[in-house]
Symmetry: C2
Amino acid sequence: MSTTTQAPQSPGAPKTARGARTRAKILKAAEDTFGTLGYHRAGVTDITKAAGVAQGTFYTYFTSKEEILRELVMDLGHKLRAHLAAQVIGTSDRLEAEEQGLRAFLQYLSDHPSLYRVLQEAQFVDQAIYQEYYETFARGYTDMLNTATRKGEIRPGNNQHRAWALMGLSHFLALKYALWDQRASEGEHAFDPIVETMSDFLRNGLALNGRDKS
Amino acid sequence: MSTTTQAPQSPGAPKTARGARTRAKILKAAEDTFGTLGYHRAGVTDITKAAGVAQGTFYTYFTSKEEILRELVMDLGHKLRAHLAAQVIGTSDRLEAEEQGLRAFLQYLSDHPSLYRVLQEAQFVDQAIYQEYYETFARGYTDMLNTATRKGEIRPGNNQHRAWALMGLSHFLALKYALWDQRASEGEHAFDPIVETMSDFLRNGLALNGRDKS
DNA sequence: TTAAAATATGACAACCGATTCAGGTTTTAT
DNA sequence: ATAAAACCTGAATCGGTTGTCATATTTTAA
């Protein structure tokens, strides 16, 4: 009900292998169903149908439709972050990491479009969890930028502002090129042109002064 | 129903001064109601109550709850664009215009928070109109960047990619600093630090090479 | 093997909100 | 002044959804 609720937790975690399996099936089905139908159009019926269980079974593991959305947001967010972190190891400086990170993000959203919809809809079902998702992300991002500043890899500046700007930049590029322009996401190197444009932008900005392109 | 519907238009535009007034009252009430309660939680009842008219009156001017949302998106989008255009005249080059534009955008969203919510929720009620909103915005933005490139005000590069990146940048900065951090939006020059950070970012990027700060 | 604990079932109660409609009231135009 | 058009009313309809419950099945553990 409230847009800031957070408490009443799962009625009880599964105590059996079978239970765990069923719970997972439902969670996955919810991801797919919310992803294609959207949170509001998707009924609990649709979820359980997709999971191949009865209506009532849903309530053995989740107290409400709202709760399973929260669960999903945390789950998907965790997976995304893990994926991005993995894709960025091996880069030698912050700017290289930014490029790799953007590429990985675009690819990931292209492969997991549900994430976008679930997350964005969650915003209006439970503000708090959405806000926390991005604040968490931003904290980590800011820290990395601060470290890079200290190491002399990037110019000094307000890194919190920059972190939010960069998150927005990635978000919108993904929306446009990974989700909407499906043609643009075909092939191994589909996002290279975008990453290249952004690489130049992140390195040199838009002003004409910097003369070398490397 | 469908997420891509677009047709059945208003049942009939008001033919009287009174009718026009009532229609306007309802539209304004819808903006407020959607803005605070959200599209799904807001009932037609809430809207008509806020407007001070009977339920049935709603359907004299709008065929459905979905249609009034579409109307609202176009209306609010139009107003925003007009405002931004007005705030940017008098700037002498693209980079200055970017700064002024960002400042104006942050201020505007801080003053009209409903816009954000209405627009973002519209995305899941009628994809098409949301997409068109941003595509339209992006087209104009890209054109302006192309002009600036031609004039030698900014470095060459893919301006469509840049347009989407810049829209995302503004969007997220507004979300964080104009909508969430309410403290940050108090006072005349509340957003100056942000604009300053972004000014440096847009001009010089993040790399260390460019040495002068101006 | 068997009783207790977990899980699963699916019909159904209780509720909610969008839209309709038959009839009143106000405005317009002649 | 008065008929026609426009506008307004709000109770009732109607479709649909969440969450419950009594019962049945499966798994666990002794």
